[in-house]
Symmetry: C2
């Protein structure tokens, strides 16, 4: 096999974007062979070159035209379609979140029985050089023990019009949550990728704080690790201009990633050793003020698609194996559950209980979503991922 | 009366520092007339000019030599000595925290029956131009509604030697708490001064995380306000180099005070109005990138002492009336209490219940504090406030 024939299901913001770029041959050895959307107009209008067009996903999956599929549908369908694709023997890449809740993640992952099939997730921010550099510093032990993490990721501002642009948006039934399920899966995935899973979480979610929606649009979560370290994760879609600042306080000093900079105040002596051995009460270890060379944002989505191709054709290791996608979902679920019960929640989360609670929210929801007719540019979301 | 004759009780770090500066006439119309310390050697060695020296506080208070007193003793004595001074008709300035717990604050404040007596607290950071500018922007409505506050104040690094330098340090009986009672009263006071009292708090205190002590040296607190806004306050004495970064997200944009900078990303249109009226889903209001002119740290302790003098002689309004000192104590107590019970605590706090719980901690403490003989510079704390 010297090229991958790819199908895309869902020609919304993401799927449509991939189709446009892949149909122009942007990624070598990855040929766009088919696309699928239930919406015939969208399908007809799609920028997808000579890819064969389907309105029925199963038909495309079984067509024999493709070796691999990207699933870029609304969240709940990731599970159903992902299982189908895996069962049909296709290499599969799912958008984030891999599923809406933990039990669905487990079902999806369980369908990946043939490890020769490549199964990946679109955690494109893992290609960002800043986070890759940070992971390298952590994994190599350069930073020493991490004491505290603080991520303020509040630059996900969304207007009333955004939520009014789709009846499924920001509903329990449509997305299974708010900012934690739609906007933040990237950062939550990076969190667990970089720092591992916490032991417990206490979160405070505010529902419809800034928008007329039935799910959370403002979250503060406090997490504790088995080794005593802790972290705070803050997000909202109600803040402009908002902040994206990740701070890590470790024995070897403090790293801050913000805007285009990655700064490390590096302790010459670890804080632990200094604390024990310093003969005065207030002195701090000397620090080096280091700007880490981590400019640009990396290859992002195209990088993940290239890596998916290389994994299929060359057995390259995956940047984001889909199996790892369960962690960000479990963390998001845990935050919502903690806020619901007003208590600290320990991991692992009871996925079945969470699913039951979520279904009850969907069944008992009396929320009436206001949906506008799109006006002009309002429906143009081609630049959002 | 054209000058104030001042006495100082307690010649430790703070009292000794004031004595040195005031005895040289640094503040006009404020004459150092007497000083007091139980430790005769310290008293003898004090840099206090020709001030009369006392080993007994009550004797000094009753001596007739002074009109006003600064109480710079360990925390618990603020209440007892403050009440005595007020009852004797003296103008009184107490170090922070004004007391260790809310019930003691109430007792102390209740003794201030004669409003012609000036009663102030040493919240010197209220003189910092950055915080004064921020207060001005908030109080004038320039910032609009505040949505979120985040203060990471983790640059209070202290070594093992610091805690070993005094048996009373970081004990329930000696200080009534850890970083919240010793290092952070300034920031907690600024918090309530700038943003008002929250409705509730959920805090997570770690006891002796970085040091061998029986009180908290690591805290994360989540606060909620009646209007839905929220905030996170993070502090520790275990982190080097540590952070001091205050971020305020408001309708009119975001202000960050960090290091020597005070930056405002100012929304031309408020986020609330933009959210409602913008016809696209993702656009944000235009922002102005403003560097606020707020350099330097202000007059700090000398500023508060000058203001105390002007209040006595000229009826100038106080920068930090002692009555306001109860709020930071109540907030600190609420954080410790929330962490103790593992639940959210609402304000106002039950001060008597807190006092009872604190006394029980003191009575049942089996912690044996390790105290070192000072070695060389170890005991020199002249630069710490």
């Amino acid at each position: 096999m010297d090229e991958v024939k790819l199908g895309i299901i869902g020609l919304g913001n993401m799927g449509g974007h991939y189709a446009g770029r892949l149909s122009k041959g942007e990624i070598k050895r990855l040929r766009l062979a088919a696309v699928c959307d239930r919406d015939e107009e969208k399908l007809k209008a799609a920028d997808a070159g000579d890819a064969k067009r389907f309105t029925d996903a199963e038909e495309m999956l079984k067509s024999g035209l493709i070796d691999a599929v990207v699933i870029a549908t609304p969240h709940y369908d990731h599970t159903v379609l992902g299982i189908k694709a895996l069962e049909l023997g296709l290499h599969t890449l799912v958008e984030k979140p891999i599923s809406v809740h933990k039990a669905d993640c487990e079902r999806l992952i369980a369908a990946h029985t043939n490890k020769d099939q490549i199964f990946a997730a679109m955690f494109n921010q893992r290609t960002d050089p800043r986070y890759r550099k940070l992971k390298e510093l952590i994994d190599s032990g350069e930073l020493g023990k991490i004491n505290r993490i603080n991520w303020i990721i509040t630059d996900w501002f969304r207007t009333r019009q955004y939520y009014a642009s789709g009846g499924w948006r920001a509903t329990w039934g449509g997305e299974g949550g708010g900012v934690l399920l739609n906007q933040c899966p990237h950062q939550i995935d990076l969190w667990q990728w970089l720092f591992g899973m916490p032991q417990k979480v206490r979160a405070f979610c505010q529902v419809g704080r800034f928008h007329d929606i039935e799910v959370e649009d403002d979250v503060t979560a406090y997490m504790e690790y088995a080794d005593g370290s802790n972290g705070v994760f803050i997000t909202t879609t109600g803040e402009a201009p908002g902040t994206n600042r990740l701070e890590i306080a470790a024995e070897r000093g403090r790293i801050v990633i913000e805007g285009d900079t990655m700064k490390w105040l590096r302790n010459e002596v670890t804080s632990t050793e200094w604390c024990e051995t310093c003969e005065t009460g207030f002195a701090k270890p000397e620090t080096w003020d280091i700007s880490l060379p981590a400019s640009g944002r990396g290859e992002q989505h195209m990088g993940i698609l290239k890596n998916f191709t290389a994994a299929i054709l060359d057995k390259a290791p995956l940047i984001a194996p889909a199996e790892e996608g369960i962690h960000s979902v479990e963390l998001a679920n845990g935050m919502i559950h903690s806020s619901d019960i007003g208590e600290t929640v320990s991991f692992p989360l009871d996925g079945v209980a969470y699913e039951t609670a979520l279904k009850k929210k969907i069944e008992t929801s009396t929320f009436v979503k206001k949906v506008d007719q799109p006006k002009g540019a309002a429906s143009n979301m081609s630049n959002t991922f």
